[in-house]
Amino acid sequence: MTDPEFRDAFRSHKDVLYRFAYRMTGSKAVAEDVVQECYLALWRRPGAYDPRRGAVRAFLLGIARNLILKRWRDERPHEALEDESSICQPVDLPAGERAAFVARAIGMLPPLQREALILAEYEDMPLEEIARSTGAELAAVKSRLHRARENLRQLLAPLWEEMRSVNGKR
């Protein structure tokens, strides 16, 4: 990989990687480190990227999620990555903190549900590309996304009700 190719790959995908890592971890510092490690990995082993297996974006996202999940496992060795059960009770909503509330709710999702939701809802990635990035079957991605949305409906119930009442649906 030449220097111009590397810089082009950096400028094309750094924001997607950063936003994904930030939303997954809730930390700017970690997101910066993840982006850096992704690109250093690409530079060290350009042969590891096979264009026949998908876009470089999916390849880089795959590295990012591996780094993030490794960090998650190191911090919580006894928690399962994917919890199929639904999540807990809605949290009280402080006034004027809707964005923080949404961020907190997403942060409470099990990591595999969280990554599927972030890539689908925020990055508008097709399900097939999410499957490639995460090394999962398409059906598994659909299932995680479905569970993530169901969980969020519970977690975000206070906001949900508020929106519905504003829209005159109650």
Binding site: F10, Y18, R19, N167
Partner: protein, 147 residues
């Protein structure tokens, strides 16, 4: 259900996060370029170790006693803490006499060897000038006293 999804999507969009900071590119490029410096330093350490070994061998041709002969077919053992060569990387094999102590310092286990002695080994040197693996060819011992 579609309305539910649309409402959920609208709600999720309330959480906006910034793009990567502009300075991150400078940091990544600097880290990428700095990566070669430790390799160069490691190559220098190896070169220094080999020079010392050669000097000692020339200065002290002490009688050596064959101790344990290792078969030529023995596999290469990766140098600890050094990434093995990738399939696309090339390297060359250099046969040399190495001080046992330098191998021990590098993390190899040579229980039967005299720490003051030397061994003949094939060293796999990558394109980066770094030793990636070692294969012992034969072992000689020398106590360095000429006894």
């Amino acid at each position: 259900m579609e309305n539910d999804d649309a409402e959920l999507r609208r709600l999720l969009r309330e959480w906006e996060v910034p793009d990567a900071p502009a300075w991150l590119e400078t940091r990544v490029m600097a880290r990428r370029d700095a990566r070669w410096r430790p390799r160069f330093a490691a190559a220098l350490v190896w070169a220094a170790a080999l020079s010392v070994a050669a000097f000692l061998l020339v200065r002290q041709p002490a009688p050596t006693v064959p101790a344990a002969t290792v078969a030529e077919e023995d596999p290469f053992v990766p140098v600890p803490n050094v990434l093995p060569l990738d399939s696309y990387e090339t390297g060359r094999v250099v046969r040399m006499d190495l001080p046992v102590s330098s191998l021990l310092n590098a993390g190899f286990s040579l229980p039967a060897a005299d720490p003051a002695g030397t061994v003949t080994a094939d060293v796999l040197v990558g394109d980066d000038g770094r030793a990636h693996a070692v294969r012992l060819v034969s072992a000689t011992t020398s106590n360095g006293t000429g006894d």
